[in-house]
């Protein structure tokens, strides 16, 4: 291969499906499926036209938000939501820590590991709304059901990520502490905690943020908070109040977002 005998053109060889005929067949299959799928969606164009008008009123409500006429309801909903968010995050994180430690393969004995992993799996597999409906049915309307829902969801989130983080610690640091004759608790306190603490704090702040957003959603199924106020406003066709509520939610989420990312950066 000297001089001009080396080829001058090169094409990337196919990576996934090597056979050219199969490649073409698969591509045609995807196109046919998409065409059929779009064809099967039934659209009622008259209903869409009606909806446009409603949508327009909604957007007008946004453009002229009315903060004042329902302010008492809005502020009460906000206070409920914020209380729910904070308490459920604190309680959720407090319960998550022992479960997360128990769900770390390198710290917990086998049977505890399986128990904690199943708690996490249950908590993660149920979506917040489903849990909220369940708790509302059990404990009635209001923020208590919301608080329980968010605490439960927090456990699955924090405990899983904490456990994964503990499993990825630098084992030699734990080995070093263990070799001094430390007990299991001392190993957790001296070798594991310093390694996972910054991430735990970061995750908790992130979860605080998520819980506030979720509190607005689960309010719609009756779990109290700003979501309930929003639901009422929409039911009464008071789109200007609804617009005001959405703007407040956006503002609070943004403040929480920037606040927590600033804090996380500060902690690293």
């Amino acid at each position: 291969m000297t001089g001009t005998s080396a080829p001058t053109s090169w094409r990337r060889p196919p990576q996934i499906i090597k056979d050219r005929r199969w490649r073409i067949a698969v591509q045609i299959g995807i196109v046919v499926y998409l065409v059929l799928a779009f064809g099967s969606v039934e659209v009622n164009w008259i209903r869409v036209y009606d909806g446009l008008e409603r949508g327009q009123r909604f957007i007008m409500g946004f453009l002229q938000p009315d903060f004042s006429s329902r302010w008492r309801d809005i502020s009460q909903g906000l206070i409920e939501s914020l209380t729910m968010t904070l308490t459920s995050t604190v309680v959720g994180v407090a319960i998550s820590v022992p479960i997360g430690i128990g769900a770390a393969r390198n710290l917990a004995p086998r049977w505890i590991y399986y128990i904690c992993r199943s708690i996490i799996a249950v908590s993660r597999s149920l979506q917040e709304i489903i849990i909220a409906i369940f708790f509302v049915a059990m404990f009635g309307f209001g923020p208590f059901a919301g608080f329980l829902t968010l605490s439960f969801a927090t456990i699955g989130f924090i405990a899983k990520l904490l456990a994964d983080d503990i499993e990825e610690i630098d084992e030699t640091q734990a080995e070093a502490v263990r070799s001094t004759g430390a007990t299991w608790w001392q190993v957790v306190n001296y070798a594991v905690q310093p390694q996972v603490m910054p991430r735990l704090i970061g995750l908790s702040l992130y979860r605080l943020d998520i819980n506030f957003r979720e509190s607005a959603v689960i309010g719609i199924v009756g779990a109290g908070g700003i979501g309930a106020t929003l639901n009422t406003a929409i039911d009464r066709y008071e789109y200007d109040s609804a617009g005001a509520i959405l703007l407040i939610i956006i503002a609070i989420v943004m403040v929480a977002e920037y606040g927590s990312s600033y804090l996380r950066k500060f902690l690293q």
Binding site: T172, A176, V177, R178, Y190, P194
Partner: protein, 273 residues
């Protein structure tokens, strides 16, 4: 005095890491453990404080058999064995002082260690040790703010804080430059001499081992193939330990390196003129 008697370790995969190792290390002796990687040096050291569970044999540390001890007895015995690690293994987010005090974990109840309320005596000792290794001014720094050599000094102070009767040292200089390596080895031999501490030092750098060790044991494939003073470690012994080919390439590499170093020195000298 440490005695290993017929110590063997076979991993669950069926790999035999140590077979029938019998040795004793008297008080005050610094023993270097050399051998190619995979020879079982690390396993041997970790079997002694049972970070690795030996499959057979006995380990006697001043007449206590460490094999087969229950959990709390094992913890009590681990206090007597200080360990120093290759990558320092300091808890990086803790302060230097906390790392040194962690050597006392086996002696204090959980609440004291949790609240960092160590007995006055322990704190005084920790300061003395930091002074001994030359880091008294760094006590409140986080340990990841230190350089490699400084971190290894903290590692030494932590091991000594245990008030050990034996030091296990795993490749103490593998991540350090040649000059710092020598300083660390000197410090290690000094503190062992001061306290009459026996030590087992895993080391892959043969010249460094010859310079600092009182006795050298060569491992090959989990067996002791050499045991004697450093000056008896000649060509033929090294060939037995490392195998013909490896030893030749190793020596070649070393020659090349020393030549390159000499070259660099010459060039710097030429520049200085």
């Amino acid at each position: 005095m440490l005695t290993l008697d017929g110590l063997s370790k076979t991993y669950r995969t069926g790999d035999s890491a140590l077979s029938d190792v019998t040795l004793s290390v008297p008080k005050g002796q610094i023993m270097g453990l050399i051998g190619p990687s995979g020879a079982g040096k690390s396993t041997l050291i970790r079997c002694i404080n049972r970070l690795v569970e030996p499959t057979a044999g006995r380990i006697l540390l001043n007449d206590v058999n460490l094999v087969g001890l229950g959990k709390s007895d094992l913890r009590r015995q681990r206090r007597r064995i200080g360990m120093i690690f290759q990558e320092y293994a300091l808890v990086e987010r803790l302060t230097v002082m906390e790392n040194v005090l962690s050597g006392r974990l086996g002696y204090v109840p959980f609440w004291r260690s949790f609240l960092r309320k160590y007995p006055e005596f322990d704190i005084q000792r920790a300061y003395q040790l930091l002074d001994r290794v030359g880091l008294i001014d760094h006590a409140d720094k986080r340990s990841d703010a230190l350089s490699g050599g400084q971190r290894q000094r903290v590692g030494i102070a932590r091991a000594l804080a245990q008030d050990p009767e034996l030091l296990l040292v795993d490749e103490p200089t593998a991540s350090l430059d040649p000059k710092t390596s020598r300083q660390i080895m000197r410090l290690l031999t000094e503190v062992c001499a001061e306290r009459g501490l026996p030590a087992i030092v895993n080391i892959h750098d043969v010249p460094l081992a010859q310079q600092f060790m009182q006795r050298i044991v060569g491992l090959r494939a989990g067996r002791v193939v050499f045991d004697g003073p450093p000056d008896r470690l000649k060509e033929d012994a090294l060939t037995t330990i490392y195998g013909e080919e490896d030893w030749n390439t190793m020596r070649q590499g070393e020659e090349e390196q020393s030549q390159a170093e000499a070259d660099a020195r010459d060039r710097i000298a030429a520049l200085a003129q």
